[in-house]
Amino acid sequence: MLYQLEGSQAVARAIALCRPEVVCAYPITPQTHIVEGVGELVRSGQLKNCQYLNVESEMAAISVAIGSEAAGVRSYTATSSQGLLYMMEAVYNASGLELPIVMTLGNRAIGSPLNIWNDHADAMSARDAGWLMLFAENNQEAADLHIQAFKIAETLRLPVMVCMDGFILTHAYEKVDLPDQNEVDEFLPPYKPAFSLDPKHPCAIGAMVSPGDFMEVRYMAHRRQLEACSVIEKIGTEFNAKFKRNMGGLLRTYQIENAETVVVAMGSVLGTIKDTVDELNHMSGDDKFGVLSLVSYRPFPDKVICEALKNAKRVIVVEKALALGRGGILAHEVELALKGLDIEIITVVAGLGGRVITKAMLAEVFKQPKGNLIFLGLNEDVIRREYKTVLDERGA
């Protein structure tokens, strides 16, 4: 059924449709509206049979989820930015314990300086934490990804992080099609844990593992990540078949059949990119530009990406994160995926800390990129001024 909803509300309702049994909430902008929404659905009785805990920190939020998941019930929490970093120790722990927790990450920059606006620095900090990470392009996908996330997580026994851009999606009102409960129930069966804290069958979860076995444990976790690609694809296809919406999966392509230049990105900026690309193609009258929307950042689908981009001459990666002193993060991973192919790869670092990204700005770099590491909309005057004073002080 169609609704005009704030993104956070859409996600809250999607979560409720998945019947989580434990939800823990700790406020941090811009994720807050989501847990508020779930809380309201619990209190109003629309989400039944669910424990909603107001905890004292993100560390507690994820830890409560670890506990409840280990006790065998579907568990959910959400966070953003510093919150993710604050819980990071337990983020690694959750995947190590193979607990299929689902967590929404309302993407936000990481300070200092303090900045509450959107970018992907928080998500990137967790890229090796052993979680699956899916990025939503719009609120429809944000809602749909959560429904898929529980199924993927529970199939693979891995936690899943659904990333949606802070404010840009979490606070945006859009049309969202939410399925009926019975449809979701058909798609997502009740959670049956492989192991849990059960007095009838006691076992220990979280043993210390010595050098003699640790490599094997880690290698198996690596294998599960690789296997995840096919599971995510399969469940995406299942979802599309049932709900008639092409959402999720590993990635989506747009106009790449004859494209010389393909723009790769994740999250909400893709909409603006697509409009930009349409306009460019329209103006030039041909279709030199295409877009690749990456949904699954973890696992990183090298093969599928390579297959999709092998005919391109140039790949422009627009990303909302920066590896300081290194450049792009997503771009480097794309580069690895395309290793050996003669494709120019350009990194466009854009929208850090919520910096506005306009079609005009994008069109400019897409048409003629200057260099292969571009900072979109960077105020050169400020840099020149500030950097000069630095050099002067050093007496350089």
């Binding site: 902008t29 802070g166 945006a172 009102y173 893709l270 919520g354 079609k359």
Partner: protein, 179 residues
Amino acid sequence: MFQIRIHGRGGQGVVTAAEMLSIAAFLEGKDAQAFPSFGSERMGAPVVAFCRISEKEIRSREPILNPDAIIVQDKTVIEPARAFDGIVDNGFVLINSPVDVETDLKNARVKCIGATEIALEQVGRPIPNAVLLGSFAALTGIIKIDSVIKAINTKFSGKIAEKNVKAAQVAYEKTLGER
């Protein structure tokens, strides 16, 4: 695609106005997108909210730089917020003011209405957003007053909803009359 930018101050329901506008459009089967100028604005600070209305899917998420219509909920922000920047030729400007406001706008369709006064009189609180939406429906014809009323009812309930609906209707009629 029709793009609206709403200016005002925190606490005046600027964001809510944009949301209601998007709901109204949605109810007419259109695609609509509403979003605030994100931030941690507190009561009283100048705020901006945006709304796009279109027949086909809206993908772009850049802020509205060239609005087809501007709603000013508080005329004291016009200067500091440079509220009229980028308005398209022949665009609409709806200002919350009982008296006409001098603007240097050339070919723009400017309309002033004492929305706060109407709100106080109808709702009892100085929240002009619903009033302005009623007026906006009459001024632009982009959305029907019925849709605005439905939107108000989805956002509010009970007495508040009733009163705001009444206020919107009053403003709608008033604006129509003065057109």
